[in-house]
């Protein structure tokens, strides 16, 4: 057991820190740090800067831009990125479909899709959930039927995050209606500009638009866009969701948000021991979570995720929510001024607190709800 990073890892950290804080545009990072909304351009710009330096998809196979880093280095990379306010590489590209294509795709698909996926030339969306298939994903009903070389797709996807920006969507579709639930599912890549694809943004409770419904009406998809084997979709979905879970706890971003909140609400905190104790308690819980992330990273070197990794999503989302809730409380009645413009007398940080609080309620629902996470812990780890 040793607390310090090795000299090499320290140098690596320094390199990451320098890169992120000097190469990624300051104004984008500032928007992240202040909790402002990012444009599509911001996200794409940042990802391109990263990709140009081979820092967008370090966990991919090396021939496709991966770096062969240790889990610890990946952790440091991710930590420093959040610390500097760099928007992380688009998850749909970097963490979801990229690894799936790299692992299950054929050579032609790899060559065609991986480079523009790493550079965000293609913006991907995820087409998994359906109105009647949320946590119970295997109940999905969108169908793809063979017609010559093509697949003809019909159905509806929902909760498609940032689908309004997307160029392509990776979908789970039912290709064998006779087979049992999980068996008859395949993964299909669909160009969203094809006729019959329709996107409807869904307004969320914070007034923002970040998820969408996507309809497919007789969409003809060329046959070479099936990834892996026909009816092998469930295997790929599990592979993808497993990756999603591990990378999803934005511990450092939450730490950064809490530290920023301390600065912004310093006057209120100065003489309020109860709010100070909430800050201190959250700082300690975040420390425990960060150390758990480090421990998991350090022990996952053989590729098998550490059992404690389920803790990261579960507790990470709770803490993200708790910090956002504290922010509303520290803002007081200023938190009501959510719709005010910059001519408001209420500081911008106070005005932004409640929409963020409401928005972050999703953190324990999306990406595998916390109930699903508890189920995983109970069954897979505790054997219950």
């Amino acid at each position: 057991m040793r607390l310090e990073l090795s000299e090499d890892d320290q140098a690596f950290r320094e390199e990451m820190r320098t890169f992120f804080t000097s190469e990624v545009p300051e104004e984008i990072r500032q928007r992240v740090i202040e909790g402002e909304e990012l444009s599509k351009d911001d996200i794409v710009t940042a990802m391109r800067v990263l990709n140009d330096a081979d820092l967008a998809v370090p966990h991919w196979p090396e021939e496709w831009g991966g770096r062969g880093w240790s889990e610890l280095r990946r952790h440091i990379w991710y930590d420093e990125m959040q610390r500097a306010g760099v928007p992380p590489p688009l998850a749909f590209n970097a963490s979801m479909i990229g690894p799936v294509i790299a692992h299950f795709g054929n050579q032609e698909q790899k060559e065609r899709f991986l480079p523009p996926t790493a550079s965000a030339e293609i913006w991907w969306a995820q087409g998994f959930s359906e109105p009647d298939a949320g946590s119970d994903l295997a109940s999905l009903r969108t169908t793809a039927v063979r017609d010559g070389d093509d697949w003809v797709v019909n159905g509806q996807k929902t909760w498609t995050t940032l689908g309004q920006h997307a160029d392509w969507i990776f979908t789970l579709v039912r290709t064998d209606p006779e087979a049992k639930k999980q068996r008859g599912i395949s993964m299909l890549l669909i160009d969203m500009s094809l006729p019959g694809v329709e996107v409807r943004p869904i307004e969320l409770i914070d007034g923002g638009f970040e998820v969408n419904e996507v309809w497919f009406s007789d969409v003809r998809v060329p046959g070479d866009l099936l990834v892996g084997e026909e009816n092998q979709g469930w295997t790929m979905a599990k592979f993808l969701l497993g990756n999603e879970r591990v990378g999803v706890a934005p511990v450092t971003a939450t730490k950064r948000a809490l530290a920023r909140l301390k600065e912004l609400a310093a006057d209120t905190l100065a003489d309020d021991p109860l709010s100070r104790s909430r800050v201190a308690e959250l700082e300690n819980e975040l420390l425990a979570l960060e150390l758990t992330a480090l421990r998991v990273a350090a022990h996952s070197a053989d590729g098998e995720p550490h059992p404690a990794s389920s803790v990261l999503k579960l507790k990470g989302s709770e803490l993200q929510q708790a910090v956002s809730e504290l922010a509303v409380d520290l803002a007081g009645s200023g938190s009501l001024a959510s719709g005010a413009g910059d001519d408001s007398g209420v500081p911008a940080w106070q005005r932004r607190t409640t929409p963020r609080y409401l928005n972050y309620r999703k953190a324990s629902i999306y990406g595998g709800s916390n109930e699903i996470q508890r189920q995983i812990v109970a069954s897979r780890i505790l054997g219950l």
């Binding site: 969320l204 409770i205 009501l336 409401l358 999703k362 629902i365």
Partner: protein, 372 residues
């Protein structure tokens, strides 16, 4: 000691429930009225006036109905049940309440009468984002300077009731014509409206006797507002729970309805516990209002504020979580309930603020005695 409504109160509740329930039965209607100014349904407001709800707390001499806090609480609960964006709390309870408590005969006639008839709505401008608004006197003429924000539904107010620091110390209240001030309106996250009000040597009429310190009256009206906010929160909590149990009974996942999952049903049971505890505290605090004891009200308002904050967050957050993704969408009703709960929680001091006050005072009593 009696926690039950009498027949007239039951009739009032049913009537209000019928009216606002019908108006907002379709959640789309709420979405469309909040999408445009003034952020609520003016037709409903007119019907509420017809029904006498807007004049409920005020003396008959002032054009009101002279009802008690239980009746006002009933209206607030029913508005909360549908997360109605109507500015009842802001205009009737707070602004109207302060005018009724402190205004001259003429001022009461000028403000309360039209309010009760649905012809004009006062707004209370009390919160200050930075430094206090100050009042200056020049002979009989008074002016105010400074910024008030957020002023709930300040953009559609017929008259602003503005609190301000008096030249001789203490806090006064003034009537200001919105046309004389700079009013910048905007939507609040729950669909209602608020505004920034800038005053720059703006002419103002002292409410009641000029120059008199109204601090304690203002405090009492704010305490009344806390109790009524808790009533409204209680209504929203009740619907949030019933929407959740309905959803658990009907929504299928993994081939079965969600109420098959014990974890979810137990958490709904815990929501019920929070709801019932809040109901008890709300009923009690509302009855304390009726005693007319300002000190007892201050205590009760703090206590019910803490309970409603804790209970409202618990029920609201769990309502979203137990629903899952659907509750994150503006198309579904639960989000509006949670947004309104959040607003009510932060309007007049949240649970943490109330807890600090209570923590300071634990030495003032042995046991807490609700019946006195």
């Amino acid at each position: 000691m009696d926690f039950s409504y009498d027949d007239e109160q039951v009739a009032l509740r049913d009537a209000v429930r019928g009216l606002v329930g019908k108006t907002y039965a379709d959640h789309d209607h709420r979405r469309s009225v909040t999408a445009e100014d003034p952020g609520h349904d003016e037709q409903l407001w007119a019907r509420m006036a017809e029904m006498g709800l807007l004049g409920l707390p005020f003396a008959e001499a002032d054009g009101g109905v002279g009802a008690g806090p239980v009746e006002i609480g009933i209206v607030c609960q029913e508005l909360g049940r549908v997360a109605a964006p109507e500015p009842y709390l802001a205009a009737v309870v707070l602004a109207g309440g302060l005018v009724a408590a402190c205004g001259t005969d003429q001022q009461r006639a000028d403000v309360i009468g039209p309010l009760a008839e649905g012809e004009g709505r006062p707004a209370l401008a009390h919160d200050e984002p930075a430094s206090p608004v100050t009042a200056s006197q020049d002979g009989d003429a008074w002016t105010l300077s400074g910024t008030k924000e957020p002023v709930l539904h300040g953009g559609s107010a017929s008259v602003l009731v503005v609190t301000a620091a008096l030249p001789e110390g203490g806090t006064g209240a003034f009537l200001v014509d919105p046309a004389d001030a700079t009013v910048t309106a905007y939507p609040v996250y729950d669909g209602s409206r608020a505004a920034r009000v800038d005053l720059d040597a703006t002419p103002a009429t002292p409410l009641g006797e000029a120059g008199r310190d109204l601090s304690s009256s203002i405090a009492t009206v704010l305490d009344l507002g806390r109790v009524m906010a808790a009533n409204q929160a209680l209504g929203a909590m009740r619907t949030a729970l019933s929407a959740t149990t309905d959803y658990l009974k009907s929504r299928k996942q993994f081939g079965v309805t969600l109420n098959t999952f014990q974890d979810l049903t137990f958490r709904a049971a815990d929501m019920y516990v929070s709801l019932e505890l809040t109901q008890s505290m709300v009923d009690w605090a509302t009855m304390v209002v009726a005693t007319g004891d300002a000190e007892a009200l201050a205590d009760a308002a703090t206590r019910v504020g803490l309970q409603a904050s804790r209970g409202g967050r618990h029920v609201g957050q769990e309502a979203i979580q137990l629903h899952g993704g659907i509750a994150m969408t503006a198309e579904y009703s639960v989000g509006s309930l949670v947004a309104q709960l959040t607003l009510l929680d932060h309007l007049l001091g949240d649970g943490g603020v109330h807890l600090r006050r209570l923590a300071d005072r634990i030495d003032d009593h042995g046991l807490v005695e609700p019946l006195g």
